[in-house]
């Protein structure tokens, strides 16, 4: 799970969290046992969907101001280490 969530845990963290998460999963098992096949799932409490604004350009953030807050930026873009393979 930690790898899926891009987290690296120490052995101590792993041991502590495992016990704590087991306790939570024991508690929520009460809902796992309910028979609710006839009920639809609720993703959202309000009966509204697909809210769209008119398709015209709106106000946007200033690119330089946004990039100034990035850990590393270059030539108007965010800069990151190699995504695949080694650096050239």
């Amino acid at each position: 799970m930690a790898a899926l969530a891009r987290l690296e845990l120490s052995d101590e963290e792993l041991e502590r969290f495992t016990g704590q998460l087991d306790e939570l999963l024991d508690h929520v098992a009460e809902v796992e046992a309910l028979d609710l096949e006839d009920l639809p799932p609720t993703m959202h409490a309000l009966p509204i969907a697909n809210v769209l604004r008119p398709d015209v350009p709106g106000e946007v953030l200033d690119r330089d101001e946004v990039l100034a807050r990035a850990p590393l930026a270059e030539d108007g873009q965010f800069r990151v280490p190699p995504v695949l393979g080694e650096a050239p």
């Binding site: 809902v31 009920l39 101001e65």
Partner: protein
């Protein structure tokens, strides 16, 4: 002075916004080192803003309904040019390039921002002990927690650092700290207040609301921050009537239900006694009170602790070290993502991301996240059948008064139980608020929770005003 009195005095020239803000800044200077309600205090900016308000009044302009009212903002509300950290190392030092809609609305109403308040990291917690910058202490007793996650905002109002603070409530994060600190706290109907610029925790549950010392002050703030916003697709499209207008209408003839599933088992006797006293006050004012049952409410905590972490695991994927905040260098981007997140997030955030990732993962989705969403429907249906017979419901806000610092940090499940009375309302999207109603056996504040159907704020505030007046 209340916020309403401050604004009316500033607008009429009876006192200056500058003298008001100076008084609050002195209180902050004196007591903030002990309370630690703030991550950031912007004293110079606040004074300059107050002078601006005074100049506008002198020039014959009306600065707005909150003219000169000092406001503290929870540190998950984006403020242009003012650091916003969510009490997390991963956002330490980040300065947003834009204001949240509520920040714009308060500014346009004449408010004076004094600072950003401490919170549980990314609003995950019930005691403000999960802050990367140290805990906030309860101004009523510094050995106790202020509640959470908006503990800094509740403490700021309780300590007299500001007459108004904003918080966010995903599972009780406004109401529970309001109860523990002895102030008024409101979770509005989902969609009534724009979430644009609120750093997302669980998007289908999050809602912004006020903390104040009085019911009328919360009404005045809610009237400023509620309303449609094209920048939040979950914003309710139609403007709602101001709650301030009907505040004094009383509860004569209203049908009030005591929510039995949240008012019996697990509630401390002294807290239950204060609820009974509140029920008596509502009856004396003409309300018809009887027991109300929402059987599925008992499953609220379980559904909440699957749905909220699931949404959080998705929302917090954006903290990857690429666009803002912390970056821990590594030879490849995937390694950099992992190193950044492992160093930047605290324990509780990591726990919730892992629960959420698990609840959403292939093979477990139907059993956990899917099931929790069906429980959510069950709870909504149970409440819907009760609203035919009752105008309002009441329960305790928190099962106990404020607990001691450190008492529940090693036991996340015990901490989660603090939210048992407040989470059902986030799942249903309904309105609820906490009103201080005396003290428990330990002399610490007790809050009574008033629950209303969606957009039932006007009636909810009437009952709150009756309770306040009966003390």
């Amino acid at each position: 002075m209340t916020a309403v009195e401050i604004a009316s005095g500033v607008r009429s020239g009876r006192h200056s916004a500058r003298s008001v803000v100076d008084e609050y800044l002195s209180a902050i200077e004196a007591d903030e080192p002990e309370v630690h309600a703030f991550n950031l205090v912007v004293a110079e900016q606040a004074r300059a803003r107050a002078d601006e308000i005074d100049a506008a009044v002198a020039a014959g302009q009306d600065p707005g309904p909150l003219a000169g009212v000092p406001v503290a903002l929870k540190d998950n509300l984006c403020t242009r040019g003012m650091a916003t950290t969510c009490s997390s190392r991963i956002l330490e030092g980040w300065v947003p390039p834009y204001d949240a809609t509520v920040v714009e609305q308060l500014h346009n109403a004449g408010a004076v921002f004094v600072g950003k308040t401490n919170m549980d990291e990314f609003a995950m917690g019930s005691s403000t002990e999960n802050s990367a910058f140290g805990p906030t202490r309860n101004p009523c007793d510094p050995s106790r927690v202020p509640g959470g996650s908006s503990g800094g905002s509740a403490a700021a109002v309780a300590a007299g650092f500001a007459p108004v603070a904003l918080g966010s409530d995903t599972g009780g994060s406004i109401r529970q700290p309001a109860a523990l600190c002895g102030v008024v706290g409101v979770k509005p109907t989902y969609g009534l207040v724009s979430r644009y610029g609120l750093v997302a925790f669980a998007s289908s549950l999050d809602q912004i609301g006020p903390f104040t010392a009085t019911v009328a002050d919360s009404a005045a703030v809610l009237d400023v921050i509620s309303g449609p916003d094209g920048r939040d697709s979950t914003s309710i499209g139609e403007p709602q009537p101001p709650v301030s207008d009907t505040l004094a209408d009383g509860v004569d003839g209203l049908r009030v239900g005591v929510l039995v599933e949240l008012s019996g088992d697990g509630i401390a006797p002294d807290v239950a006694a204060r609820l009974q006293a509140a029920v008596g006050a509502l009856e004396s004012a003409g309300a018809r009170v009887s027991d109300a049952s929402v059987p599925a409410a008992v499953y609220g905590l379980s559904a909440y602790y699957l749905i909220a972490p699931a949404e959080a695991s998705s929302n917090l994927a954006r903290y990857d070290g690429v666009r803002y905040g912390l970056r821990v260098d590594a030879p490849s981007t995937p390694d950099m993502n992992t190193a950044t997140r492992s160093a930047g997030f605290g324990d509780e955030v990591k726990r919730r991301i892992m629960i959420g990732t698990y609840a959403l993962s292939a093979g477990y989705y139907d059993a956990y996240y899917g099931k929790a969403q069906r429980v959510r429907t069950l709870i909504i249906n149970d409440f819907a059948s009760v609203w035919g017979q009752f105008d309002l419901l009441v329960s305790p806000t928190s099962p106990t008064t404020a607990f001691s610092l450190g008492e529940r940090t090693a036991d996340p499940m015990a901490m989660y139980m603090s939210d048992v009375c407040t989470v059902p309302v986030n799942l249903t999207g309904q309105a609820a608020m906490s009103v201080p109603y005396g003290v428990g056996d330990d002399g610490l504040p007790v809050g009574v929770q008033i629950l209303a159907p969606a957009l039932g704020e006007p009636i909810m505030f009437r009952a709150a005003a009756v309770l306040e007046a009966s003390l």
